[in-house]
Symmetry: C2
Subunit: 231 residues, 2 copies
């Protein structure tokens, strides 16, 4: 009776930053970042909202810490002679982490200040370019050029995933063909041409790797030319 709580029925585990983050990440995974509020997280933990503030300064810090959890899931850099496959593999691992937590990219896009964890990730990324023989200048440009791809996602203008159901009726088709002939042409090619590399809709993984490789090879050429601008 000394150690256990007075009432056995309400033996709730103690709160901790860790437990809060686990609950918050789980909630975001389950219901999306839109449903992520301090109050909901507290509720999931059977705790009053203000309790969270004993462990986190505010919601902003919680979001940052949640990102750290995701970044922590990215594989460490492989050591190997080939910088290109090392960087490529790492970025694809980052992408897997982001795909496990689809809310994360949205959060990254909106946030401002990076946490030490994210800084560390960037640092090691820079290190990989440098180890691959990139000059400082070119490394700098490379980091900018890769943009969000460094963290495993690319900014899509809109989510074409499951763009309505496949049964897009002829009426809509016709309207679209009139208003947006080029989109229409592209869209019909993509969704009907079975021989195309994209079957139904877009193969996001393929598109991501396509752009990634385009970038990496462009950078490689810059490096080999030892010149700064691609033109």
């Amino acid at each position: 009776m000394k150690i256990a709580p007075a009432s056995a029925t309400k033996a709730r585990a103690r709160l901790s930053r860790e437990r809060i983050l686990v609950a918050a990440v789980a909630l975001a995974d389950r219901e999306g970042v839109g449903s992520l509020s301090m109050r909901r997280v507290a509720q999931d933990l059977d705790v009053v909202p203000m309790a969270l503030y004993k462990h986190l300064a505010n919601k902003e810090e919680m979001l940052g810490a949640m990102l750290d959890v995701v970044v922590g899931e990215i594989d460490l850099p492989a050591s190997g002679p080939d910088w290109k496959v090392a960087i490529r593999d790492r970025i694809l691992s980052a992408r897997q982490a982001l795909l496990r937590h689809p809310w994360a990219s949205r959060v990254i896009e909106v946030r401002t200040e990076p946490t030490p964890i994210v800084m560390g990730y960037m640092d090691s990324m820079i290190g990989m370019f440098r180890a691959g023989g990139f000059s400082i200048d070119l490394t700098h440009h490379a980091m900018h050029a890769m943009g969000s791809r460094l963290l495993g996602f690319s900014q899509e203008l809109f989510n074409d995933r499951s763009d309505a159901d496949p049964s897009m009726d002829a009426e809509m088709y016709a309207a679209m063909a009139g208003a947006y002939p080029s989109i229409y042409e592209l869209f019909s090619a993509v969704s009907h041409d079975d021989a195309s590399v994209v079957g139904q809709g877009c193969d996001d993984q393929f598109e991501f790797e396509f752009a990634l490789d385009l970038m990496l090879e462009g950078l490689e050429r810059c490096k080999d030319r030892a010149t700064r601008v691609p033109g």
Copy 2:
């Protein structure tokens, strides 16, 4: 007295979707998207908040319409024989529009459904690739690969603009060098090497064009090789 309002002192102009959007864009330009609330916009228009809802379904629609205003500022595509300079110029024009309204990229990143105006922009972009001789497949990949650059911005992982004041004291420097050696190396090169193309801090315009050209040239090679994947 028949036409003019009863009280000359309170002759307020009638509300309209147009007037609301002008006020909203101005507010966002002035105080940032964080301060953009229906209530603040209404206040700027000397009107009760609910009045806005006679002209807009909800805030989401207002944000979309605000984006349309920005996209409307992008130059029309130039007609010319060279697809690369045409696309390049148009994207740089998009970038200028986005720079005039810094909140817009944040809004784009978070939004889901595109408006007809944005669809029209994308359509004409696709048309430019097609007119330049790109196959449908390659056009499709190109659109994905360009990602947010099509709209004139690229996702930066964090805003390094005015990273603290230039007087970064030696203590912080040392701490940074220990924790993030690669970032440190890059950072000091960028901020101290006057010969570098980047003087103090980053030249965002240069970085944007660097990545843009890398992408465009990679796409050009794909097109000329008439192959689908860059490798």
